[in-house]
């Protein structure tokens, strides 16, 4: 009995010990490091990443403002996503000083910390990014803040007005009901109720798709392409330990080309991309395609992926296509099996199939739906299973073909004469058998 209890106690102790160990293993190790927070323009918008102490190189685009903010914080590896993360809640100390940038053909600059904010104004298609620095950043942020305050005050006033309106309406409705109950004429009261003006809600600030954030301090980097070195100098002139990095500033390859988002009618949530000029999109022809042309440019795969994520993986020997912005007011010329036509951009509504069946229907917006926001704005390319090839070219607003916008869409037939191909594969074997037979015949003579 005692031995059994001892064994159970030992097992419990072991379990507790292992349990504690597992619990400890669940908490990633945090290390205090000097990191550079990077807010980099990526050709389309701003993306945030950071360069931890072990990272030697920071990648930025040339000729545009990007922002580096050195800080002391905690870095840990998060195994679930396989990436390094910052724990700025526990420790986040922005580091003062100046940034020394050297290299790139004799450049030697001391940069001071500046306040900045970035924002995106609302535009027809997508994001239209802007950057404001120092006084302008504070002004942009204050203006936005004021417009939000105004909106919140107007919203509060609206709630009060609405309450007053509803109270007055309730009062007059009750009064009219009482008069009618007593057999009197309530038309005068009803007229008064009808004359009440329902307050309309204020409109939220519409200027920004992505409003300016509170200005932060960072070093503004805008350099020509090249390789540089950066180093943080403390206010006392000493070099901050671990702040030495190489800075690779690269540019997109020109000329730019035109890419397409290819949205299949039956899987509109899973758009494909047609990036390389002259690329062929193969489909089975079971549904129409909806295209969205955009401007694109090529960048070094490794540089670009590490611009998006400093710990990212990229291919140093390859170029990658970078989507920049949608082509405005384009038309698309189609040549379907030799017949030429053009399609224009249209707004569409997407309806989920009713009942338990999955799927969507994409339909053009009808006359009464102008006030609604469309679910999809694209160019519809009708595809039939018996089409062989559809040639696509995007034209600009003046009808001139956009560079690198030519594409082919080919319909792969579902029933294929693959026996012919199998025959070609077997031909050499048949030749071998024939040669062997001929040799045997010749030798037997």
């Amino acid at each position: 009995m005692i031995a059994g209890l001892r064994r159970a106690g030992l097992l419990a102790a072991l379990g507790a010990a292992f349990g504690l160990q597992w619990t400890a293993a669940d908490v990633p190790v945090h290390t205090e490091q000097l990191v550079y927070s990077i807010t980099a323009f990526n050709g389309r918008d701003y993306s945030g990443t950071f360069a931890r102490q072990a990272s030697d190189v920071i990648y930025l685009l040339a000729g545009v403002d990007s922002f580096l903010a050195p800080r002391r914080t905690l870095v840990y590896f998060w195994p679930l996503t396989g990436e390094y993360r910052l724990d700025t809640d526990t420790l986040d100390i922005p580091l003062p000083g100046t940034l020394l940038v050297t290299g790139g053909g004799g450049i030697r600059r001391f940069l001071a910390l500046r306040q900045f904010t970035f924002f995106s104004r609302r535009s027809t298609y997508e994001l239209d990014w802007g950057v404001a620095e120092d006084e302008e950043a504070r002004k942009v942020y204050a203006d936005y803040h004021r417009s939000v305050d105004r909106y919140l005050r107007a919203q509060a006033d609206f709630q009060l007005d609405r309450k007053r309106y509803e109270d007055a309406l309730d009062e007059l409705t009750a009064l009219a009901a009482g008069i009618r109950r007593r057999g009197g004429d309530a038309s005068a009261v009803e007229r008064r109720a009808g004359a009440l003006v329902e307050p309309s809600p204020p409109q939220a600030p519409q200027d920004y798709a992505a409003p300016p954030a509170e200005p932060q301090e960072a070093f503004v980097i805008n350099l020509p392409p090249g390789s540089y070195h950066i180093q943080l100098r403390n206010p006392d002139g000493t070099i901050a330990e671990g702040s030495d990095k190489r800075l690779v500033v690269f540019s997109m390859r020109s000329p730019a080309a035109t890419g397409y988002d290819v949205v299949p009618g039956d899987k509109w949530t899973r758009p494909e991309k047609s990036e390389a000029p002259g690329a062929v999109t193969y489909v089975n022809g079971s549904t129409d395609l909806y295209l969205r042309p955009y401007q694109e440019a090529e960048a070094e795969d490794l540089y670009y992926r590490r611009l998006l994520n400093n710990d990212g993986r990229g291919n140093r020997g390859l170029l990658t296509w970078v989507q920049m912005r949608q082509v405005p007011r384009a038309t698309i010329e189609l040549v379907v099996d030799g017949n030429r036509s053009t399609v224009t951009e249209e707004p569409f509504k997407i309806e989920q199939a009713a009942g338990s069946s999955l799927g969507y229907t994409i339909r053009p917006m009808s006359a009464g739906e102008e006030a609604d926001a469309p679910d999809l704005v694209a160019y519809r390319v009708p595809i039939q299973p018996d089409n062989r090839m559809v040639r696509v070219t995007a034209l600009d607003s003046t009808g001139v073909p956009l560079p690198g916008s030519e594409r082919e869409i080919r319909v792969v037939p579902t029933r294929r004469a693959e026996g012919l191909l199998a025959l070609i594969v077997a031909l050499p074997l048949a030749a071998a058998v024939a040669v062997a037979a001929l040799r045997r015949r010749r030798l037997s003579r």
Partner: protein
């Protein structure tokens, strides 16, 4: 015509006849065509309403996963941008080139050890004529193999409505140049090593090194091994036919004329240098093991 040229012509004709009488070349060619056919069939089965989705084909889901994992998604998109035919041509050429190089090494070593090579040199032929005859035989059969693969690609394109990229012929020409270098490497190894099995092993080792260097120079996987492979690839890049092939392919997609010229002139110069090395090896090591 010089004596050596005549001997090369006669010997290469003889070697060609020997290759066409045996079953090996036909089997290798059929294997190459079957691989190319599988590449095309796998692609067409993975086409749905939205385009090509490599996860829908067992073959491409394995290959695509490997390529995307090792080299990044950009490479896979570029390889299949215009369809599967260029990819099919490349993978289909591998069994043919490997068979031809290994069989030539085997034959050369066997002739050397049996004294047949020495016997040739008593006539108008010399060891270099034997090397050149072997190269002529291999390159001629490579042309046959590549033409067969192009025929399959044309038929597959017609049957499946696939685009024949304009670069297909250029890729075939570059494959031919790369294959010539591989054959020259094979014969150099055969001249330097007496034993046939050892020579074949060494040759496969050399090819594996070139493949690893190519993989290392394009891999996205971060690690000391890959970094070292990238540095190694940069160091031996000018010795590797695969390195020139990679230069040619990337230069073509970027329309970079100096790169294209380098990708064509490189394997030609490499093949010439390897033949010169073969000449030296034949002189110093003799024709009898």
């Amino acid at each position: 015509m010089t004596d050596r040229a005549r001997s090369v012509l006669v010997m290469s004709r003889q070697r060609l006849r020997d290759s066409l009488v045996g079953a090996g070349f036909y089997v290798a060619l059929s294997a190459g065509l079957a691989v190319a056919f599988a590449a095309v069939a796998g692609f067409t089965t993975a086409v749905d309403s939205s385009g090509f989705d490599y996860r829908q084909s067992p073959l491409y889901s394995v290959l695509g996963g490997l390529i995307a994992g090792a080299f990044g998604p950009s490479l896979l998109a570029r390889i299949l941008a215009q369809g599967p035919l260029a990819f099919a041509l490349h993978v289909g050429a591998v069994p043919v080139v490997l068979y031809l190089s290994v069989s030539s090494i085997h034959r050369f070593c066997a002739e050397r050890s049996s004294g047949a090579l020495e016997l040739y040199t008593y006539g108008p032929a010399d060891a270099m004529a034997c090397v050149l005859a072997s190269i002529v035989k291999d390159t001629t059969l490579t042309v046959v193999g590549l033409l067969s693969l192009l025929l399959l690609c044309a038929a597959a394109g017609a049957v499946n409505n696939l685009a024949a990229p304009p670069s297909l012929l250029a890729f075939a020409a570059e494959l031919f140049l790369g294959a010539s270098c591989i054959y020259a490497y094979g014969l150099l190894v055969a001249l330097c090593v007496d034993n046939g099995s050892a020579a074949i092993s060494l040759f496969i080792g050399v090819v594996v090194i070139f493949v690893l260097a190519l993989v290392g120079s394009h891999a996205v996987v971060i690690g000391r091994g890959v970094e070292a492979a990238a540095e190694f690839a940069a160091a031996i890049g000018w010795l590797s036919p695969l390195g020139y092939w990679a230069i040619f392919v990337s230069a073509r997609s970027a329309a970079d004329l100096p790169g294209i010229i380098g990708g064509v002139a490189g394997p030609l110069a490499l093949a010439a240098a390897l033949l010169a090395a073969c000449h030296l090896a034949a002189k110093t090591r003799g024709v009898r093991s």
